[in-house]
Symmetry: C2
Subunit: 243 residues, 2 copies
């Protein structure tokens, strides 16, 4: 069933209206009166309904049932990924949304080749948020992950360290595995912090440790900067009983 995200206040009654991009999307899909859809408030409530009316630029939907979205994981994982070249962050936004991330944060790091300025960041954020919304619709999420940026490496670290499981993946970490860092059970909030193309500087790993992050490895193979966050997210979801 096609899923549309609407603001919560548009879903308060027994009838809702699809407009704007939602209406355009419905038109592309050739949805018609009688078709069933899911309207989601982006806060884990799914409303199932039936299209009752198709007009130019808008569709009416009679809401039948409200349920807690079954696709939201119990774990709240935030992906902190250093700015990367090309469209790697876009790739990670799309896949991490499918894999159940709650939030993505891009941050600057010493070896980042990509150093977008403020104007470029604003444009990128808009694009990334659209990719997250589209991936959330397609994968059946009950939330659209929020995509933000941290002003500095220190700011990203300070935020990431507040999670119940603040994980920092460092390719030079030789002994401590992800399994070691998670221990017997993982629950609550998880931060997953990964570096740019060239990896983290040793001084950055020291700062992470000092900030209270659990520095660990993702195995003996060197993962690309766009592979590491998705590998970490998947492993944590599995460890947390979500797969």
């Amino acid at each position: 069933m096609t899923r549309f995200f609407l603001p919560p206040d548009a879903l308060g009654g027994n009838f809702a209206v699809l407009t704007g991009e939602n209406a355009s999307h419905a038109k592309v899909l050739r949805l018609k009166t009688g078709d069933r859809v899911i309207l989601c408030d982006g806060a884990s409530t799914d409303c199932t309904g039936v299209i009752s009316d198709v007009s130019p630029g808008q569709l009416g939907v009679v809401i039948e049932k409200r349920i807690v979205s079954p696709a939201e994981p119990v774990l709240s994982c935030t992906v902190y990924m250093a700015y990367a070249k090309q469209d790697k962050f876009e790739h990670v936004v799309q896949k991490a949304t499918e894999l159940g991330a709650m939030e993505l944060v891009a941050f600057p790091s010493a070896r980042c080749v990509s150093r977008p300025d403020e104007k470029s960041i604003a444009k990128k954020l808009e694009r990334w948020q659209k990719i997250a919304a589209s991936a959330a619709e397609q994968s059946g999420r009950g939330r659209i992950p929020s995509v933000t940026t941290a002003q500095s490496y220190a700011a990203a670290l300070a935020r990431a360290a507040q999670a119940d499981f603040p994980l920092f993946f460092y390719e030079n970490e030789q002994t401590r595995t992800l399994h070691d860092a998670l221990g017997a059970a993982v629950r609550g909030t998880v931060s997953l912090m990964t570096g740019p193309e060239g990896g983290f500087e040793p001084s950055e790993a020291d700062a992470a440790l000092a900030a209270g992050m659990a520095v660990c490895s993702l195995g003996p193979r060197i993962l690309r900067c766009e592979t590491a966050p998705l590998c970490a997210l998947t492993a944590v979801m599995y460890a947390g009983g979500q797969l």
Copy 2:
């Protein structure tokens, strides 16, 4: 350290020669006399050595030490992925190589939109194998995963079912999770079978069950056909103590 794959018989003595693509790659990287490199036989032996001679089109390397490649996982995972549109299989070859897959097998399935003919398959296989080799070099693998195709769905199923853990991921599976299918410990050989863009037909899932595959889900979210195999591979590697 830069890694080059050479045929095992080129690594029998105390001196080896980089030629062809390896020599071109070394030139691009501007490697020079005295630089250290790793020469790998593709069968889990890494030879560390020093470049002793740089000539047009070839480089001499003095081999110093042979070790068992530290980056090969204990688990032997084969990814069976249905033919997919665009470059999705290429993406999976690259990432699955980083994540430690032993082999990749592309196969036809009822809902495949992509149906390459024999000539096109031969070309694709050559390209896929090159991507695997390049990803193996970059990620520090001791083996290049082999990339093959299965002639039919039935042939893919028959091969996949022979593994110690033959896993079939079906989006309509509601109750059995990957965790259920793996049980307490995963070791030996693992098959990971995932469908095309539109998913598997119910009759294909029935056939998988009849062939002895463990039909299970990858969670409540709908994953893209290129996300599912990598999610499954990562989770299995974590479950098998490889992360």
